[in-house]
């Protein structure tokens, strides 16, 4: 191991870390914002509403993220109509295409996670809300969604980590994320171990940080499930 290669190029890795952080956080935020209404509509009994969402989820969960990214980045340029449209300057950028692919991908997975959580709502709670005369919107806001989010958290934390790992694909379309930085260092010095192990350490640290944060969040959200009067802070973590 030649550590001078790692420390000499730390600035490239930090640049990569910045890009990874931006890509992952923005796609997760927008993806989640899309997924909540989609999940609610997906539980609709109206076939015309639920079917398109099902198709969207089916496509994005059934195909590799790499192919989705290629379809958006390389694929859309095939159409002349699209190339002359106002959107083209945006879709020409690798960064935007990666972001779009990641967002749609995580939106699909998150929709499914939240849908499962919504459908897991105890029937009695829904009946009680109806009996109390709540409108559908109020019922979702006060009863179904809060408890659904709580049930969805463990699965969603997995999704966050999958998105972090999936974001390494951005390096394939020339974006310098952490993996992209490692590929640059590898090709410059031909030192694969230093280059990729450093990237691996970066990812491991971020993964552990995410797990730690989620555990904190679970500790708060599951406060009502914690045994009472134990007096210790480590219960449930």
């Amino acid at each position: 191991m030649d550590f001078s290669i790692i420390f000499g190029n730390l600035d490239i890795y930090l640049e990569g870390l910045k890009n990874t952080a931006i890509l992952v956080s923005i796609s997760l935020l927008i993806g989640l914002a899309l997924a909540i209404p989609l999940a609610i509509l997906r539980t609709s009994r109206n076939y015309l509403v639920a079917a398109p969402i099902r198709a969207f989820v089916y496509f994005f969960r059934g195909t590799p993220l790499l192919v989705q990214m290629f379809l958006i980045y390389y694929g859309l340029g095939q159409f002349e109509v699209f190339k002359t449209s106002v959107l083209w300057p945006l879709f020409k950028e690798a960064y935007f295409c990666a972001l779009l692919a990641f967002t749609l991908n995580t939106a699909a997975y998150t929709t499914e996670i939240i849908r499962g959580a919504i459908e897991g709502t105890p029937h009695g709670e829904v009946e009680a809300a109806k009996a109390a005369g709540m409108s559908k919107a109020l019922m979702f806001r006060r009863i179904i969604l809060p408890s659904a989010f709580r049930r969805a958290l463990p699965a969603y934390s997995n999704e966050i980590i999958f998105m972090l790992h999936g974001s390494s694909l951005a390096s394939v379309i020339t974006i310098i994320d952490i993996t992209g930085a490692a590929r640059i260092v590898n090709s410059r010095f031909y030192s694969p171990f230093e280059a990729f192990l450093t990237a691996a350490v970066f990812y491991l640290c971020i993964t552990f940080a995410i797990i730690w944060l989620v555990n904190k969040l679970e500790f708060r959200w599951y406060a009502h499930l914690r045994p009472q009067d134990t007096g210790t802070a480590d219960v449930g973590v």
Binding site: Y58, F59, G62, T63, P64, L65, L66, V67, Q68, F70, L71, Y74, G75, L76, G77, Q78, F79, I161, L164, H165, G166, S167, S168, L169, S171, V172, T179, A182, R183, N186, Y190, S191, P192, F193, A195, F196, L197, A199, A200, Y203, L204, T207, F208
Partner: protein
Amino acid sequence: MFSLHGYGPSILEGAFLTIAVALSSLLISMFLGIIGALAKLSRSKILQIGAKTYTTIIRGIPDLVLMLLVFFGGQVFINQVAPLVGYDEYIDINPFIAGVCTIGFIFGAYMTETFRGGILAVPAGQLEAGRAYGMKPFQVFTRILMPQMVRHAIPGFGNNWLVMVKTTALVSIIGLDDMVRKAALAAGATRMPFTFYAVVAILFLVITSISVYILNRLENRYSAGVVKA
């Protein structure tokens, strides 16, 4: 748009390679998964820590980084070690082997968790009963543990398989001619990237849909003796 300009057979060839990569990786991952699960549940502290380290670290690093590490790193490593044992020619790492080993190694970690859950779901009393009958540990494993563990492990196993099929797309990055790379080549030659990547996406959907069908049948079969609520 729907003419493939004669590249259809080439893509199909790639699809078979994709399936070959997925099935080979599946074998490796199942093997590692069973060993990992037994290690996690063993009484030996060293085995437990070893298995725990394996699953934690592998699940914390992106597949692509691991694959590039094995592909490029393995190349350097082998060519440093080979002269020491008296082999002087330059060795190229076969991307098929690098890809399959990496994917198998990664999903071995996921399989470890799945199998561990499956094993834990088998009542301990049954294993004790088996031992009380004088069965050897291996017999307890094959006659009592395995058949029941499979039922509990199938849903998780199915998920792992579906994720793994999609992960095989990454082998195109290290130069293996799977269907994604075949599509890239065809797209470059015909300037129809959307068409070819769409075909690949549909083929992936076909593979995953068939897998889901088979997995459901398997699940039914292994749940034959279970009363459903």
